[in-house]
Every structure is written in structure tokens, then in C-alpha cells.
């Protein structure tokens, strides 16, 4: 077979991933695979009570073990490591990586062991005894607001971390509140639905636990830190600041990272302790989290109570929304802890043109693991509260839930649409996504099937939810470390292309998608392109991978850098070909005058000339390497519609998902295969929240879900085959028109599962069921017990 005349365009194609050959052969290097001569292992001694004052710590038995290099208590660590940085614009209590006086959650570290191997380090940690005076544990966030039974942080009366923070109609710039319009809407309403809903705590549970290797080299005075992180550049910033080193002295590397889901955005105490201890001892050190440890030491997600009220007319027209939020943020502020619930407030409108909206947020300290970003980070909670309430309204007025949505959408001509709570939706066509989903699911027929099943005595329910969410994080005004992204594109001397990106993929497949983009931009084969990421010594600048920003922000930076190089390369080619650069085409690895490909030059020829320009064209510097920073003017707001068919077993209460239809609009897509994978994974986590996942604390503040035996994450047997489709509404906020897709599935799916369960059990008089949908809970509804 002869080669095609022109290389096929790759953007939009289902290209198999370039990351995979190493990963399917076990040749990837994750942080626990990194080893260095003389490596020491860390183990943390952690508090086993939720709240208490440290009276004494006895490390003598641990120190006596052969092979223990050093032990540091919190007080000793404090001598050479400052408090954890919390760069959000909210007040935060002091947070020590290792507690020195008071422990505030089960898992709070109190000492760290440095030892020859990981087994010995664990032995030594177990041999440390800690004497604590127990203090009352604050567990219920609403009770905590009265300061009972204790106050966690002296400067935060009644355990209030943030708020009450108002947003929406009638809220002035200074925070003053005029409720008249909102009260008026509710006074006019023919129907009001009101519900308290709990969006429960979750454990992110990337299959690779966290880990870090820190290697300070005395004499060289540099520190290299490998960490299972989503953002090595932010890690470098914090590690340098906390160890007293310059950013030029710190190199942060994210090797293969085994999933993040938001939990690996944070700069954790263990990262900082490893860096500080390595510098202190002049030895390389490693710490790898146990799974059981991860349930205590890695941030949790969600954990927010919503009081939702919707005012409406009987014809289904909504008049107003009230959303009062109480976030149970745990014991301390981590990197984005305080910010995540504000995103719930910011997405209060959902896809609907509510005439008035009042949102109010209070964040509360409790004696639990801190919460922070988990896939969706604030948006799933908003979609859940609003969509569940819309579903309740539909049932209340006896209207088809799809029809109710249709009557209240923000319309395509209204974009960009500024919501009352401060979001500026970039583009959207919600009715199109709804219609596509209804068609894909066969909505009318599905309703008939449900009714027929019910007539047979089966408990079958249908759920539908819309969602809109925030992707493409930045802009810089919204993120403490900046919201841009960086890329450098280099045409090497042999004509092949190396590119770096400041996003740090851990499953997203950017080595493939970014290469697809450059292949099309330059007209070269995919195999001639290499994408580098995750190493601050290789990638000069960057922010990282979170908030579904890889494509919308990182991809845009890559595209801009590529464009700069291409422009420069055209100038060199024009000089070689004695042609006008505007007449040149880049095709099949060659640059030629349009219409005369045979007379063109190969990439290697042009690149060789650019790197040895004996006759340098006027105004050009040698070389073919350019960089770009892309600062997005706004976020993107992807949206979609999800539909679920679910059956509850009458005898056992067990819910069984029968169908799951998801229509998502992420704007333009680079690789539909990878997009599908992202949506599948997102759906699984969103459905997981509804059906199997919950972090549970006892009334005494003890975590009851401390291992994967107690905390369930979904298994292959929990799902039917997902049915996907998409609509395409490009965004105007970046040159690619791509919105982002990493979190969408998690956001739309959860409310529609719960709505399907409520629909299935509607005959028993139930209006709402708090997650998770435990069989026992459903069985009680069916059989007359308490829900």
C-alpha cells in the first residue's frame, strides 16, 4: 500500500493512546518505583482520637530499634518546618504538618520516623506511645455552629470557618443583603418545594495511594521531589517556600501518577515533611501511603448539607430559588478547602433562568479529615441540590420532569449569560442536549416500559437530570497560583517535534491528544512528536491538571506555542525556497509552495537550516523553539443531560441500575475515544456516590470507613453498558472551542440516580431519599420502616 497523498487529520479521531505501551507492560515508573542509594523510609505516627491535647510522646522504644535513623515529634518538626501554606482568600487557622500541641482528627500526624526500610519504619511508628488528654469531638456540622460540644480553633468562634456568605439577587458588593425580591417571588408562588439534602462525604480513592520521594543533595544544595501530584509546579512553589530554598533549587517531578480525582492537587504535610527531613538529614527519603492511612490522611470530598427551596407556578414556571449551604470541612483548611463550597454557590442556577436566587454558605470546622477538591469539586453538589429539587417540583405539580426542565432553560440567544450568583456562562444549548438524551433513551417508550413493569409489581423508576458545570480553571483572578497554562514547542534539528506542557496528566492521555493537535497543526506524522510533562526541570512553567483544564487551557497554550514556531519556521522555509511565507503549506512533513509540493523542503532540511543559518534572514534569531502562556478570559461551562432507569428489589431493597444514558456537550473534541473514557469514569464515580460510597464517622468522631472493606468503590458488576452521545457547542473563550470533560460524568449522574430511586418508590409516599441508597434504607421505605 502506498502512503496517502496527505496525512489524515487526527483531531477528532479515535487515536489509541501513546501512553499505553509502557503501562500495559508494567514499565511505567510511579513514585513507589523510584529508588535512590541510601534511601530512608518515613512512617507517620497518627492520632487515634478525634480531638485531644498532647501531653507527652515517648519515642524511646522506637529509637532503640536497629535501623531507625531519626524520629521527630511535631514540636521538633516545628523547629525547622513552618505552618502549612493556605493561599485561599479566607482566614485559616494555623495548620502544622505534624501536630505539636492539639490533635484535631483521627489521622492527624504527631510524629515521623525515618528508618532503613518500610517495615522497620512502621514497627517504629507503632512503638511510639502518645499520651493525650481527650477533648470533646465536634462531629455534627450543624450542632458545631453553636460551638458545641467544643471549639476547634480559638480564633474561629462557633467553629465557623467561612460565612454566612450571601450571594445572588439583592446582594450588594459589600455583602449587604436585600431580601425583598426573593421574598416577593416566594410570596407570589403557587407552589413551593423545600427539602434538606445531605451530599455525603466521599473518599477520592485513586488506586495509587499518595507517595513522595525527597532527595536533598548537600553541597549541590538542590532538592528533587518526586510526588504523586497533579501539579508539580505548585508543589515546587510550596516546597521551596517551606524549606527556605529558592525555586531554582527545587525540582519537582510527577512521575506516572495513578489517578488523582482532585485529591492529588493538594500540597500535603507529608510532602513538606519529606522535603524538610531530607534537607535536615542530607538523606533521600520516601513515604508511601497505606490504603487504610489514605482514608484518614488524604482529603475527603463533598460533605455539604443543602436546604433548597424552589418557588414556582403550577404551570411549571420557576419564580425563585433559595439554597442555604452548610459545609462540613473537617479540621483544617487545606489548599482549596474553603473555595470548593463556593463553587456550589456559584452554580446554584444550574441550567435554569431563575428570576431570583439567594444562596448562602457557611463552612464549619469539625474533628474530621479536611475536605477539598474531589472530581467535580462543588459542582456535583450544586447539580444535585438543584436537580433533585426540580425533580420534586415536577412530582409536586404532576409534570413530566423533562418538560419542566424545558420550560425553564436559559435560552441559546441569552449567552453569554450572567447568573445572579456571579457565573458568566460562555455558551450553551440545553434544550438540544435534553432532546438528544430523550431520543437516545427513548423517553416515551421508557416511561411506558416503566409503567408496564410497575403493573407487574416491579419497582422501576426513571430519573433525569440536567447539569452545567465549570471547566477550564482559571482565570488567574480565581486561583491562588494563577490560572494560565504554559507550553513550549520545539522543532528539533532533525525536524521532529518536542513539546512541553504545564498540565500534568495522570490518565487524561495528553501525550496522545496534544500530539494529535500538533500533528495537524504542522502536517507531520504523530510518531514524530513527543509531549513532555510533569518535571519542573523540563517544563519551565506550569499550573497543573485539575478543574478539567488540560485541553481548554493547556491545549490552548500548546496551540499558541505551536503557532509561533510554525510562523518562524515558515520564515526560514521561505528564505530557503525563495518564496513568500504566505504561499507556503505544511503537509506530509514538508513545507512547500502551495501547488508545487515536489519543490518543497522537508522538516529536517528547514530545521537544519534554522539551527545553522549561515545566511540568517533579517530579523530572525536562530532556532525553532517558542513558548506561550495562555490566560483564559473566562471559564467554560459544559453541560448535558443524563437519564437513568433503575429497579429496586422489593424483597432486599437492593437498587439495580438498568440503563444509563449520558449526553454531554464539551464543545469541540480532540479524541472521542479518550472523551468516552473520561465520561465513563466520571459516571462511575457519580453513580458510586448515589449507590455505594460514603465516609462514615461515629458520633464519637471515630471513622468507621477505614479501609476498602468498609468503604465501597464501584466494581465492574455494578453497571450496565453506558449509552453515550454528545452535542457540540463550542466555547468562544479559547482558540480550540474545547470546553473540558474530566468531571462532567460525575456531575450529571448522581441526581438522576436518586431521582430514579424516588420514582421507583414514589408509590410509598417518599419525596426524597438522602444518599447513599443503601438497600436497608430502601427496604425500610418499601416495608414501612423509617427511611
Amino acid at each position: 500500500m502506498t502512503a496517502p497523498a496527505v496525512l489524515p487529520k487526527l483531531v477528532g479521531q479515535r487515536v489509541r493512546r501513546r501512553e499505553d505501551p509502557r503501562l500495559i507492560q508494567g514499565r511505567g515508573t510511579y513514585v513507589d518505583d523510584v529508588t535512590i542509594a541510601g534511601l530512608q523510609h518515613l512512617a507517620f505516627k497518627r492520632s487515634d482520637i478525634p480531638h485531644g491535647r498532647i501531653l507527652s510522646i515517648d519515642t524511646s522504644a522506637a529509637e532503640a530499634l536497629d535501623g531507625v535513623e531519626a524520629i521527630f515529634t511535631g514540636a521538633q518538626i516545628a523547629e525547622f518546618l513552618g505552618p502549612m501554606p493556605v493561599p485561599t482568600p479566607f482566614p485559616a487557622p494555623e495548620h502544622r504538618a505534624v501536630a505539636a500541641d492539639v490533635v484535631r482528627y483521627v489521622g492527624d500526624p504527631v510524629a515521623v520516623v525515618v528508618a532503613r526500610d518500610r517495615y522497620l519504619a512502621r514497627d517504629a511508628a507503632d512503638a511510639i506511645t502518645v499520651d493525650c488528654e481527650p477533648l470533646p469531638a465536634v462531629v455534627d456540622p450543624e450542632a458545631a455552629l453553636s460551638g458545641q460540644p467544643a471549639v476547634l480553633h480559638a480564633d474561629f468562634p462557633n467553629n465557623v470557618a467561612v460565612g454566612p456568605l450571601p450571594a445572588g439577587t439583592g446582594v450588594g458588593r459589600g455583602g449587604q443583603v436585600d431580601d425583598s425580591a426573593v421574598d416577593g417571588a416566594f410570596a407570589e408562588a403557587e407552589v413551593v418545594v423545600s427539602q434538606r439534602m445531605v451530599n455525603q462525604r466521599l473518599a477520592p480513592t485513586a488506586i495509587e495511594p499518595r507517595g513522595v520521594v525527597a532527595h536533598f543533595e548537600p553541597g549541590k544544595e538542590t532538592l528533587t521531589i518526586w510526588s504523586s501530584t497533579q501539579n508539580p509546579h505548585i508543589l515546587r512553589t510550596h516546597v521551596a517556600a517551606l524549606t527556605g530554598l529558592g525555586q531554582d533549587q527545587v525540582r519537582a517531578i510527577a512521575p506516572e501518577v495513578g489517578g488523582g480525582f482532585g485529591a492529588k492537587i493538594n500540597i500535603y504535610g507529608e510532602d513538606l515533611v519529606a522535603a524538610a527531613v531530607s534537607k535536615r538529614l542530607g538523606l533521600p527519603v520516601k513515604w508511601v501511603e497505606d490504603r487504610s492511612e489514605a482514608f484518614l490522611a488524604t482529603i475527603h470530598g463533598r460533605g455539604i448539607i443543602g436546604y433548597v427551596d424552589i418557588a414556582a407556578r403550577r404551570d411549571g414556571r420557576v419564580l425563585g430559588l433559595k439554597l442555604r449551604l452548610v459545609a462540613d470541612i473537617g479540621a483544617y483548611n487545606m489548599l482549596l478547602t474553603a473555595v470548593v463550597p463556593t463553587q456550589t454557590m456559584r452554580m446554584a442556577n444550574g441550567t435554569y433562568a431563575f428570576p431570583v436566587v439567594r444562596a448562602t454558605l457557611t463552612e464549619v470546622f469539625t474533628n474530621k479529615t479536611p475536605t477539598d477538591a474531589y472530581r467535580g469539586a462543588g459542582r456535583p453538589e450544586a447539580a444535585y441540590f438543584v436537580e433533585r429539587a426540580m425533580d420534586m417540583l415536577a412530582r409536586e405539580i404532576g409534570m413530566d420532569p423533562a418538560e419542566l426542565r424545558r420550560r425553564n432553560f436559559i435560552q441559546p440567544h441569552q449567552f453569554p449569560y450572567k447568573t445572579q450568583v456571579g457565573a458568566l456562562y460562555d455558551s450553551g444549548d440545553y434544550e438540544k442536549a435534553l432532546d438528544r438524551a430523550l431520543e437516545k433513551a427513548g423517553w416515551e417508550q421508557l416511561k411506558a416500559e416503566r409503567d408496564a413493569a410497575r403493573a407487574d409489581g416491579r419497582l422501576v423508576g426513571l430519573g433525569l437530570s440536567m447539569y452545567v458545570e465549570i471547566c477550564g480553571l482559571g482565570p488567574s483572578a480565581r486561583l491562588p497560583n494563577g490560572g494560565w497554562e504554559y507550553s513550549q514547542v520545539t522543532v528539533e534539528r532533525d525536524g521532529r517535534i518536542s513539546a512541553t506542557t504545564g498540565v500534568s496528566p495522570h490518565g487524561q492521555g495528553n501525550e496522545t491528544t496534544f500530539a494529535q493537535m500538533l500533528a495537524d497543526q504542522f502536517g507531520v506524522p504523530l510518531e514524530h512528536i513527543r509531549i513532555h510533562h510533569g518535571d519542573t526541570a523540563v517544563v519551565k512553567q506550569g499550573i497543573g491538571t485539575f478543574g478539567s483544564r488540560s485541553q481548554a487551557v493547556g491545549g490552548a497554550a500548546l496551540h499558541l506555542a505551536g503557532g509561533k514556531v510554525k510562523t518562524k519556521m515558515a520564515k526560514f522555509a521561505a528564505a530557503l525556497l525563495e518564496a513568500h511565507e504566505g504561499d507556503l503549506v505544511f503537509e506530509n512533513g514538508r513545507i512547500a509552495v502551495a501547488g508545487a509540493p515536489a519543490a518543497g523542503k522537508t522538516f529536517a532540511e528547514v530545521a537544519a537550516y534554522a539551527h545553522r543559518p549561515v545566511k540568517l534572514p533579517a530579523g530572525l534569531e536562530p532556532g525553532l523553539s517558542e513558548e506561550a502562556f495562555f490566560e483564559p478570559p473566562n471559564n467554560t461551562y459544559p453541560f448535558g443531560c443524563h437519564i437513568a432507569l433503575l429497579e429496586v428489589d422489593r424483597d432486599t431493597g437492593e437498587p439495580r441500575l438498568l440503563r444509563m444514558v449520558a449526553v454531554d456537550d464539551a464543545g469541540n473534541l480532540i479524541n472521542p475515544l479518550i472523551v468516552e473514557g473520561q465520561i465513563h469514569g466520571g459516571l462511575t464515580q457519580g453513580i458510586g456516590q448515589a449507590l455505594v460510597e460514603e465516609v462514615v464517622y461515629g458520633d464519637d468522631g471515630q471513622p468507621l470507613t477505614g479501609s476498602l472493606m468498609d468503604y465501597a468503590i464501584p466494581r465492574a458488576t455494578d453497571f450496565p453498558r453506558f449509552e453515550l452521545d454528545n452535542t457540540v457547542t463550542p466555547t468562544p473563550v479559547n482558540p480550540l472551542g474545547a470546553k473540558g470533560v474530566g468531571e462532567a460524568g460525575t456531575i450529571g449522574s448522581t441526581p438522576c440516580i436518586v431521582s430514579a430511586a424516588v420514582d421507583a418508590l414514589g408509590g410509598f409516599g417518599v419525596r426524597h431519599i438522602d444518599m447513599l441508597l443503601r438497600p436497608e434504607k430502601l427496604w425500610r421505605i418499601i416495608h414501612g420502616g423509617n427511611a
Binding site: 489509541r16 493512546r17 501512553e19 499505553d20 505501551p21 503501562l23 500495559i24 507492560q25 508494567g26 514499565r27 511505567g28 515508573t29 510511579y30 513507589d32 518505583d33 518500610r118 517495615y119 480513592t205 485513586a206 488506586i207 495509587e208 495511594p209 506516572e256 501518577v257 495513578g258 489517578g259 480525582f261 497505606d290 490504603r291 487504610s292 495522570h506 490518565g507 487524561q508 492521555g509 475515544l673 479518550i674 468516552e676 473514557g677 465520561i679 465513563h680 469514569g681 466520571g682 459516571l683 462511575t684 464515580q685 479501609s707 476498602l708 472493606m709 468503590i713 466494581r715 465492574a716 458488576t717 453497571f719 453498558r721 453506558f722 460524568g745
Partner: protein
């Protein structure tokens, strides 16, 4: 210390180990075969799955001394030289992985599954992989990957 002799990926390996050393740590730290991963400490996740005398086994739940005299195959031993195993091909073709951390264990479990049942239904694949957790893919592309391998293998 106890002496163990284990044939790993066709090579006999002898070492003195602590009796409490887990098989997974023997593979990873004594033999530098780091393709086998650790994702939990309670035998739930399956990231550490290897073949022990031809059957899938969770290597974080076995002491190295329990594998004394046995044959172990890890992900590194699955391909035939440069020729990928049909399951490796399937995972690549069908986008059966994202972060790749669960993948070696998932593939080794699937090897056992297809050995027992060369033509599994979709439900049998899902049941067969119930002991392996993946947090990225939602499993659908993993099911496709196993189907891909099964079709390939059965076609010869």
C-alpha cells in the same frame, strides 16, 4: 530470615527474606519488578494480582515464603518478547486504561479469566473482574478489551 526459591517469569530466584515479607514486596523490592502494584492493604483492589502456578493471586496477601517452590508470572513476563499478549493488545486497542495503576493486576486477572472461560459473556467478564478495582475507566472499556482479546485468541 528464611530462604525462598521462586521461579519468576521463567527465571529461578533465590533469596534470604524476612518471614513476614509480602510476596509483592519480594517482587518489587528484591527483584525490581515494579509492574506489580500495591493499591490497598486488605485484598480488595487487585492491583497486586500475579499468576501463582498459573492461577491469579493477590501478591499483597501472600508472604514470599508461601510462594517458595512456586512459579510466578508478573506483568513483565506476559509478552512474548516484542509480541504483546492479546490482553495487552486489547487494553491498548480498546482504551482499557487511563492512569494505568490497576492495569497490570487487571490484565493478570483477565488472563486467569480467559484461561478458565475463553469465550466469556459480558456478564461473565464483569463477574470475573469483580476482585479488581479501577477508579478511572468505569470498566466498560476494560470489558471491551477482554472481549477484544477473547475474539483474537479464539480466531487463532
Amino acid at each position: 530470615m528464611a530462604q525462598v526459591s521462586i521461579t519468576v517469569n521463567g527465571r529461578q530466584r533465590t533469596a534470604d527474606v524476612e518471614p513476614r515479607l509480602l510476596l509483592v514486596h519480594f517482587l518489587r523490592e528484591h527483584l525490581n519488578l515494579t509492574g506489580t502494584h500495591v493499591g490497598c492493604d486488605t485484598s480488595q483492589c487487585g492491583a497486586c494480582t500475579v499468576l501463582l502456578d498459573g492461577r491469579s493471586a493477590k501478591s499483597c496477601t501472600l508472604f514470599a515464603v508461601q510462594a517458595d517452590g512456586s512459579e510466578v508470572t508478573t506483568i513483565e513476563g506476559l509478552a512474548d518478547g516484542d509480541r504483546l499478549h492479546p490482553l495487552q493488545e486489547g487494553f491498548w486497542e480498546e482504551h482499557g486504561l487511563q492512569c494505568g495503576y490497576c492495569t497490570p493486576g487487571m490484565i493478570m486477572s483477565a488472563v486467569n479469566l480467559l484461561h478458565d472461560n475463553p469465550q466469556p459473556t459480558e456478564q461473565e467478564i464483569r463477574d470475573g473482574l469483580d476482585g479488581n478495582l479501577c477508579r478511572c475507566t468505569g470498566y466498560q472499556h476494560i470489558v471491551n478489551a477482554v472481549q477484544h482479546a477473547a475474539e483474537r485468541t479464539n480466531r487463532g
